[in-house]
Every structure is written in C-alpha cells, then in structure tokens.
C-alpha cells in the first residue's frame, strides 16, 4: 500500500525523473514470504563461493541455528526480555512474530523497521528509498502529505525481530526530526503494535525518528537510541528545496548517541545501497564523533560484522551479498533490511530519576536496506557479445547485399499459380 | 560530234561561297546590323559564328570528341573522362533539305537538319568525326535516328532515357543508364572516373551554369538590357564552343550588362512587349521566330527551350562528394527538372512557364512547334488551357526551318504584339 502512495507522490510532483527510476516501479512487486531461501542453503552457498562471512557476534551467532523458512514463519518462541532495552521483545503474537525460534540470550537491540514482523521483513521490494526506509502511507486521504509508518522492533537479526513492547520501567521518548530542523518534536507511541509510529512528511528531505530509552539497571544507565531515516523526495517539486534537504545535517545534537549513514560520493535523492558497496557510518554522541564504539552491521540474513569506530567516529562496512534465490525467483529489486548497531560503555556517573549510576551503556541502532548488486544479474560479456555479433552479422549482410546488387540484372519470375 | 561532249569536272567551291555559308551570313548580318546597341562583348559570339558558320573554321578540341544529340547526355561525365562534348543539334535549312533526302518530309526539321549535317561531306560546325555519338532515347524521331547514324558509319551509344519522370523506378532506371554511360565512356577513353576528375568537370559546367544564370537574371530587368536574339546566340555557342572560353565570354557580357544596368540603359523601348519563348528550340541559323519578334518591336526576355534555358539552367546538388553520389546526382539533374514534352506527364513545364511569366514580367508567350515535332504540337493544348486560365496571351506558331512562311508569320507576330501592347495600355 505504502508503495502505491509513493508513486502518487511521484506523479503529483511531476518533475525531474532521476536516476534509474526504481522509485516509479517500487511497491508493486511483492514476493511471497517463502521466497527467502533457507539459511542452510545460504550457508552452503556461502561456503561454496567462499564469500566473506560476516563475523557475527559470538554469542548471537552461537544462538542462531539454521532454520528453515517454514520454521521461521511459524517460529514463535518468545524472546527473552532480559536485555537492557527498556522496550523488550515480547512474542505474544507468536504466529506473527518474526522472532527467532531459538532462545535469544541478549534480547537484542530495539530498532525501527518500516514493516511489521508479520509481513516478513525485506520480502517486499523497494520499500525504502535512499539510505533510509521508504513506504509511506497516504496522509489523510488523497492529496495530503505522504505518510510514513514505522514499527519499533527488537532483536539483532532484521528478519527475526518481534514487536518491541513498551517497558513500564523505562523512559521512552520518541522524537521526529523534520528535514532541516535541528530539533525534534515528540511523537506518540502507538497504542497498538500493529499501528506503528505514523507521521506525515509534508517537506522534502530526510525525516528522522529517534526512539530513545533510558533505563537504570543497578548502577548502570542504559541509553539506547533507535533511529530511522526516511528519505522523502518527490519527483519534481522545488529543486532548491531538494538540494537544501540533501545537504542539511542529518544528526541531532541532543541525541545521546546515534548512527549516521555517511553519504556515498555522488549520492542523489533516490540512492539505494547495493550489496558489495562499501558504506561508512558515523557514530556520534551529541553530534560529536565517538571513538571506540563497537559497531555491528547485521545483514538481512543475520550475518554480521563488527568493527570499532575510529577517531572520527567512522566505521566502514562492505555490504554482504546474501541473496541467493533460484534464478526463476530472482528479484533484482529485492529489498533486504539491514541493521547497524553501535554500542559503547562510558564510565560516566550521574543520577537518573534520583538514582545515581556510575557507568552508562550506550546503544544506537540504525536500520537500512540494500538491494542485490547489478553485478549479480547484469552481464557485460553477454551484452557486448550479442551486440558485436549483431553488428558483425548486419555488417556482413549489408556488404553481401550490396555485392549482390552490383550484379547487373536480376531475373523476374512469376508464381505458377493455377 | 561526240568530241563536243565533255565531262565537266566538279569544281569544289570554297565553303564560304556556299549556300550554307550564305544562309548563316544572312542571319548573322541581320542579327548584327539590323539592331542597334548590340553589347560590345557580344562581338566574341558574332565573330565565333562568323568564323565557324561563314568561314567554316575548324574547331579544336581536347581528347576524344563525343557528339550529343540532346541535352540529356551528361556532359560532366564526358569532360570527366577527358573527352569533349559537342552538341550536334543543327538549325540549318540547308541541312534540313539534305536530311529530307533520306528522311520523311514530315519529320521535324531539327532531326532532319542534324542527320543531314552528319550525312554531308562538309559538317558545319567543322568538328571532325565524333569518336562517339550519344543519342539519348528521347522522342521517336531521335530514337529512330540512332540506327541511321550508325549506318552513316558513326559509333552511336543509345543512352536509355525513361519516358516517365515522376516514378521512382524510372529514376533508378535512369541512374543506371547514366552509370552505364560512364562505363561506356571509360571503355572508349581508357580513363578512370575519379572523384577529382568528376569534380573538375562539374566545376567547369557549374561555372558555366552560374554565368548563364547571371545572364538569365539580367533579363528580368524591364526594360531589357539585352535582346533575346543575342541571348540565343550565346546559348547556341555553348553547343560547340570551348566551355572555358564560353564561360569567360559570358562573364564578360555579364559585366557589361551590369554596367548597362547601372547606366540605366535600355535595349528596347519601355513599351516593347516582353515575350517568353517556348517550344521547339531555335538553333542558329534558324533564329527566324525570335528575330521576327524582335524586329516587330517585341523583346524575348526569357525562354523555355532546350537550346537555352533547359540546357543550362538547372544545377546539380550533391550531398556527399563521392563518385557514386556525384554520378547519381548528375543523373537526377538531367532527369528530374527536365521539362521536355517527351515525358508522359509534363506539369512541370506548365508550372515553369507560369513562373517565368510572372518572374520575368512577361506580356505574352510565343510557342514554337516544328512541324513534325508531335510532342510539342500535342502539348500545346494543355499549355494553352493553362495559360488561358491564367489570362496570359499565347501565340502558337507551327513552322519549320524554311523561310517561306516569314511573311505570314510576321503578320501574326505583329498582330500578337499589337494585342499585347493594347492589353498593356488598357491595364495602365
């Protein structure tokens, strides 16, 4: 549904069509939930191709036995809510949850997804635009500003994260930052999980939602910031506005911690991350780089890789290729969700809600998506081969035809029709 | 008794004392002496005709000599092969009578005279025997002339010309014909057709055409700067004169006309009716009709005949200067704009006549048809209808090379010119 709206935005805006136009087509393509291959199969592929395996968090990986698609769909083991996040993953609606069947030792991070777990993450192509997430609902009927809906989810694996539930103990704060604004405005937590966080996007540019949880556990303050970035660009409209939005800072100075996706060189409004791309992220604390944060990139399939941010707070990942369907089922616009999680501890002391703490545990998440690399399905060799072959064939044909025409006389014959 | 009878040997009289020379002499004297204010630069042409037609001076040429019987033979190709074209069409009454010895009396004077000339011992202009005669298959009489010329011992090449010019098929056919003609010329001359040769040849003709067009444009002036009889003499010289010399002479004439224009010179009275000449071509010395018009006080300001305008007016356009394209362009130039009545449909001729009438400020049109030239005779009707509709007076004159209808013709032409004057008076 949201994809359709996107189109309408595009239509209404009526102007410069840009780039490779996925945006126009986005949304209509739906892939069955069973379209995702089993992980065992994937692992096999991985092994066969010698693909660099994302170095998963040891504990997490150990707890992630391969599951079949069927299991995945119906798996409903409740995730333990023993982790730090104030919003804990509770799997009350087992059948619908994307939660992992195995026990989840560290309940996982809270993050913002553009689809609820029931739909099966990433199975819908073209849901997100740009580096952020797409999928907008039409706001208030036709003609209104586009609307976006996000669902807070919990878990370290994009596919297997259930709905995040409000934790009474924690202080949850949701902020929506509109393009070009340096401060956010509070957003209400939905009453129903299914409803998600909905907001309108009247302006063009990057909307960001920060879901901040603060919770004191003993003398340790746990601060987690789940962030989602939604690019809202129409086709046409005010080009200056677009350019401004493209250049506007995309971090929040008041955020205790956040991850900012660094723009690719030459990136335009309708950017789409492709597997194989190198993508840099910045970990910022109150707008300043945070060095030494442990940053994990979790792919759609749950493979992850960890790195530590440098003095600029920068960390670079190469997006893994983890999409191996049958040829007949291959979707080049398959949009896989990915998740970046940054964690840092600081020996800061202070008091929170009249209780003092001596250290702070920071956690930031940023969700995103990527698509199969064109290299996976585009072939230069074939293209050039066919092209050259035809050039050669036609060239020779023309040459021969001309040779034949030079002959002085062509016989005229009639059909022996009765 | 018998000793009184003796065989009297032939005493060949010099050419300049022949009847033929006298015919040319009379016409030239008429052209030169009976009109005042002849342009100074016309002297080149007067002299040229005196030398060639009255004294029988021999014409020099480079390379092989290729005779042409029609404007449809692409002269650029002949030049490109290092040969010299000469147009054999003849206007002499003397040769007309010679031709009548072996051709039907009803056939057209032009063909009779041309073949009569080729069949006589003294070919004038004195060009010598052509190494080849190109005979485009135009009208029936020219077609049949082909075999006759062969029987006279000439090497004849039939250049196949389609009878329809609108269709694409005939265009392609004609392009092939022209290519084959080039091939024949290659065999004849043993030379190769190169881009350079052809470009040089086309430049020659192009320069001549540009000079002709300038002259043509001067004739738009009213009152006229030059008389039609001189213009016809100029274009007639193109038949046999060296193209370079001819062009230079015409360019000189043009300069003089430019000066005349500046000086406000009038070659005729302002009220002289302006006449467009069309139909069978006046060829020296048969300038009977144009001369009658101009001595009766009219002036021929433009023409649509294959001895002048049709021969030199239409220019070649080339897109790619490659041999193939140039040859095809030439073929197009010789077919598409041609307004010869041999073509099945000939709307172009009517349209061109109407355009000439309006752009040359013409008062009336004289349509000459040689008796026996069926195509011109037949086309008269449609032309007359068109002119009638447009309200343009037209005088149709059926005649031949013989001078005996001069008296009657002068009455008709005078009456025609009088009616033109009257019309003008009334319009004023």
């Amino acid at each position: 549904m949201s994809k359709l709206n996107l189109c309408v935005v595009a239509m209404l805006a009526t102007l410069s069509m840009n780039g490779h136009c996925e945006d126009y087509r986005s949304g209509e393509r739906r892939v069955g939930q069973g379209g995702r291959p089993g992980e065992a199969q994937a692992a096999e592929w991985r092994a066969k191709r010698g693909y660099p395996e994302g170095k998963a968090d040891a504990a997490d990986a150990a707890a992630t036995p391969p599951v079949s698609a069927a299991e995945h769909r119906h798996g409903g083991a409740p995730a333990a809510a023993s982790g730090a996040p104030a919003i804990s993953g509770k799997h009350e609606e087992g059948a619908h949850s994307g939660g992992r069947p195995g026990g989840m030792r560290s309940g996982g991070a809270v993050w913002l997804s553009d689809s609820p777990p029931m739909r099966g993450d990433g199975s819908r192509s073209g849901s997100a635009r740009g580096g952020g997430m797409g999928g907008m609902d039409m706001g208030g009927g036709r003609g209104g500003p586009p609307m976006k809906r996000l669902w807070p989810r919990v878990g370290n694996d994009p596919q297997k994260s259930g709905f995040a539930r409000e934790d009474a103990e924690a202080a949850t704060e949701i902020m929506l930052v509109s393009p070009g604004k340096s401060e956010g405005e509070p957003l209400k937590m939905p009453a129903e999980n299914h409803a998600g966080l909905a907001f309108e996007m009247p302006a063009q540019g990057y909307y960001r939602v920060y879901l901040t949880n603060r919770k004191l556990q003993g003398d340790k303050l746990s601060i987690s910031v789940a962030k989602a970035e939604v690019a809202n660009f129409g086709h046409g409209g005010d080009e200056e506005e677009q350019a401004r939005a493209m250049l506007a800072p995309r971090f929040l100075e008041s955020a205790p911690i956040e991850i900012v996706r660094e723009r690719q060189p030459g990136e335009k409004q309708f950017f789409q991350l492709k597997s194989g791309d190198e993508q840099a992220y910045l970990v910022l604390q109150k707008g300043l780089p945070l060095q030494g944060a442990r940053v994990r990139f979790v792919s759609h399939q749950g493979w992850s890789k960890e790195a530590v941010s440098d003095e600029q707070g920068r960390v670079v990942f190469q997006v893994i290729r983890d999409y191996y369907p049958q040829w007949s089922e291959f979707q080049k616009r398959f949009k896989a969700a990915c998740l970046v999680i940054a964690e840092a501890e600081a020996a800061e002391s202070g008091s929170y809600k009249d209780q003092s703490y001596s250290s702070v545990r920071y956690q930031a998440t940023l969700s995103g998506s990527y698509q199969p690399s064109p290299d996976d399905y585009m072939s230069y060799a074939w293209g050039l081969g066919i092209g050259l072959l035809i050039v050669l064939f036609c060239g020779v044909a023309v040459y021969l035809y001309r040779r034949r025409r030079v002959k002085p006389f062509q016989e005229l014959r009639f059909n022996e029709s009765k | 008794m018998e000793s009184d009878a003796k065989v009297i040997p032939i005493h060949p009289s010099p050419y300049n004392l022949s009847r033929q020379a006298a015919e040319a002499q009379t016409v030239l004297d008429h052209i030169v002496d009976d009109f005042s204010d002849n342009p100074e630069s016309m002297r080149y042409f007067y002299d040229l005709f005196r030398r060639v037609y009255c004294q029988g001076e021999e014409l020099k040429h480079e390379g092989l000599l290729v005779g042409t019987t029609c404007i449809h033979a692409p002269e650029e190709l002949i030049y490109a092969f290092g040969a010299t074209p000469v147009r054999l069409c003849n206007g002499s009454y003397h040769y007309d009578q010679r031709g009548a010895d072996f051709m039907p009396a009803k056939s057209c004077s032009l063909v009779k005279a041309t073949l009569g000339m080729l069949n006589s011992e003294t070919v004038i202009p004195k060009i010598g025997k052509p190494d080849m005669i190109v005979n485009p298959t135009t009208c029936d009489q020219k077609k049949k002339a082909s075999a006759m010329m062969e029987n006279m011992g000439y090497s004849v090449y039939d250049l196949e010309l389609p009878s329809v010019k609108e269709s694409e098929a005939s265009r392609v056919y004609w392009q092939r014909s022209v290519r084959q003609f080039a091939e024949r010329l290659r065999e004849l001359t043993g030379r190769k057709l190169t881009r350079k040769n052809l470009k040089e040849a086309m430049a020659k003709t192009g320069r001549a055409q540009a000079a002709f067009r300038t002259l043509h444009n001067f004739r738009r002036q009213s009152p006229s700067l030059i008389l039609g009889k001189d213009a016809f003499l100029v274009t007639n010289a193109y038949f046999f004169d060296d193209i370079g010399r001819w062009t230079a002479a015409v360019e000189k004439l043009n300069e003089e006309l430019a000066q005349r224009e500046k000086a406000g010179f009038k070659a005729v009275q302002s009220k002289a009716p302006r006449v467009l000449f069309t139909g069978s071509p006046p060829i020296f010395p048969n300038l009977k009709l144009p001369l009658l018009i101009e001595e009766s006080g009219g002036v021929v300001v433009a023409d649509e005949t294959c001895s002048a305008n049709r021969m030199l007016y239409d220019m070649t356009a080339v897109d790619e200067w490659l041999v193939n394209d140039m040859v095809d362009s030439l073929a197009d130039k010789y077919l598409k704009p041609c307004t010869c009545p041999i073509f099945t449909r000939n709307d172009d001729r009517r349209r061109r006549l109407l355009d000439l009438v309006s752009s040359f400020n013409v008062d009336g049109v004289v349509y000459q048809a040689f008796a026996g030239c069926q195509v011109y005779e037949m086309e008269y009707r449609s032309v007359a209808e068109e002119f009638n509709k447009a309200g343009i007076p037209l005088l149709y004159v059926e005649t031949d090379y013989s001078p005996d209808d001069k008296g009657q013709l002068s009455t008709r032409i005078e009456a025609f010119l009088e009616s033109l004057k009257n019309r003008r008076k009334q319009r004023a």
Partner: protein
C-alpha cells in the same frame, strides 16, 4: 527606416549565403556537449525535453527526454492513472509541447544527441568513402509507419503494465530498446547499459533486444543517413503536434522546378520535398528539419525556414552556387 531595411536585407543575405553544413556541424557539437555533458555544469532543463537527452545518462545529461517520464507516468496503476494523477500527465505533456513548439522538428536536426551521433557516423562513412543506402519507394512507404507503431506500443505497453497485464520488466518499453540509452551514457564513460539483465526472462529479453537495436543502430546509421530517425516514435509524436509549431519549413510550389536537388540531399529520403508543389508547410513526419534541402535549393525563396512567420533562412541561387562551389573545391 529604409536604412534599417537594407541592413536587415544584408543580414538576411548573409544568412542565406551561410555554409549550412559547417554551421550545423558546430551547432550540433555545442548541443551535444550541452545535453550530454551539461549535467557536470549543473545544467538541468527539466524532464520534458522533446529529443533524446537520455535520462539514463545519469551524470552528464542536462535534461531528460520526455519519453522516459511519459512511459513512467502511463505505467502507474490504473486507479491512480484515471484519477488526479492524470493531471500530472497533462501538465507534463503541456510542458513537452511548449518545448517542442519552439523548434518544431528542428530539435531533431540540430539538437538531438542521437541524431548528432548518427551524423557523425555518417561523416565517418563518408570519410572512408563508402556510399550510403537508400530505401526504395515501397520500402519507404512500409517502414515509415514503423514509428507510429512504436509510438502506439510505447503508450499501450506502459498502460498494460499499470493494469498488471505486463511485467514491470518491460517498463519503460521504448527506453529499453532505445539506442540512446546505451550510446549516450557511454559518452560519459558509463557503459553500464551495455549489459544483459538476467534477473528475469522479460528483463533478459528486453535488454537483449535493447542491445540488438543498438547494434542495428550502429550498423544502420553507418550505411544509411539518419537511420534511426526513420523509426523514432518521438518523431511521430512531433509530427502529430507540429501544426502550431513556430519553426516551419515552407515551400513555394510555384517557384519549384522539381529539380530534385532537395530530395537528393535529404538524409531521410523524403520525396515530397521535391515533388509536392501544392503543400506550403512541407514538413513531413520523417523530416528532421536539418534544412539541408533549403541550403541546396537553387531557386530564390522556394524553400524557407520561418520562425513565427518570419523567414530566417531562405533558399537562394547565390547561396546554392557558393555552397556547391565549396563542395567542388574541397579536396581538390
């Protein structure tokens, strides 16, 4: 008043004497640079351009060919298409028409980068000394309809896509087979279009078709002048809109001698230009308004290009003789 008139006449004479070949060559180069590399100079003329400034040339383009957004607009789901969204289609079309009206098909002969490339390929062939091919009259009559067929398909297929009848992999159908999609990006070093997309059967067929058409384009424009323009659906669309255009090609049939010089040089091989003496607005659907016909017409004022009724380039005898004389001297 009189002085300004003579001055104007002098300017006109100078224009009519111009060496069109040279002028056009440089004009086309400038236009090519503008529309293929203009993006690098931050030039953006919008997405409603009436010629092949290919949108796939991501980096360099200074604007986008209208066919791309048109096909996209038409391929939206029907409920959207038949609602408010159609206003966007109309406004887009209007913008396109406004662009088009300025230069009429002059866009084809002077601006279109794909046309320019074909002219360059032709120049290459000419330099090598290979003659060009032409269509016979019957071939011409058959093939000239192809562009209308392509135009119809270009509209119907996206509609079918929007209605769910065809896969999205065939959208935008014309762009997928348009040689400009491959050729123009290549000029900015982007050869990513020269690939076969194996992601689905439809995509495979369409990309293979695109490659095939590009290959045909290269061969075709080598042996025939302006090979592709003959099949260009943009050209068909142009012709349908050409009535109110400002730039016009006019012919005075009364002055025409039907010498065929214009037909001779016509890249498209349009016979009407020479043979039709009744039509005043002589531009046909195949015309690219290159004005070569005007430059090679030896009759004063028979062919002329007018802008909003004002003659800007007329055929003259003088100009003709000058231009042909130049051709004759060249390489002597």
């Amino acid at each position: 008043m009189k002085a300004s008139n003579t001055r104007l006449q002098a300017v006109r004479d100078a224009v009519n004497r111009v060496d069109l070949k040279n002028f056009r060559f440089w004009f086309q180069i400038v236009a090519f640079v503008l529309f293929v590399y203009g993006g690098y100079f931050a030039i953006d003329l919008g997405s409603r351009l009436p010629f092949f400034s290919c949108g796939y040339n991501d980096e360099g383009r200074a604007g986008i060919c209208y066919l791309l957004p048109l096909q996209h607009q038409l391929s939206q789901p029907w409920p959207r298409l038949f609602s408010l969204a159609s206003i966007a289609i109309l406004t887009g079309f209007l913008t396109f028409t406004l662009w088009f009206i300025v230069l009429n098909k002059g866009w084809c002969g002077y601006i279109c980068p794909l046309g320019t490339i074909q002219d360059w390929i032709t120049a290459l062939r000419r330099r090598i000394g290979i003659r060009y091919s032409t269509y016979s009259e019957s071939q011409f009559e058959q093939l000239t309809k192809v562009k209308y067929l392509l135009l119809a398909l270009m509209i119907l297929i996206p509609l079918g896509v929007g209605g769910g009848l065809f896969s999205h992999d065939v959208s935008p159908p014309f762009c997928l087979i348009c040689p400009a999609r491959m050729v123009l990006p290549a000029f900015t070093g982007d050869v990513s279009q020269f690939t076969i997309d194996f992601s689905s059967k439809t995509a495979m067929v369409m990309t293979a078709l695109g490659i095939a058409v590009t290959a045909l384009f290269l061969v075709g424009s080598f042996v025939r002048k302006r090979f592709f323009c003959f099949f260009c659906p943009m050209s068909a669309l142009h012709y349908l809109l050409s009535k109110p255009a400002l730039l016009k090609l006019k012919k005075d049939g009364n002055k025409c001698t039907r010498c065929g010089d214009c037909y001779r040089v016509c890249d498209m091989g349009i016979k009407e230009i020479a043979d039709d003496v009744t039509t005043v607005n002589i531009m046909t659907d195949d015309c690219t308004m290159c004005l070569k016909c005007v430059s090679s017409c030896p009759e004063n004022g028979t062919l002329k290009a007018t802008f909003a009724g004002i003659p800007i380039f007329e055929s003259t005898e003088e100009g003709f003789i000058k231009r042909m004389g130049k051709g004759l001297q060249h390489g002597k």
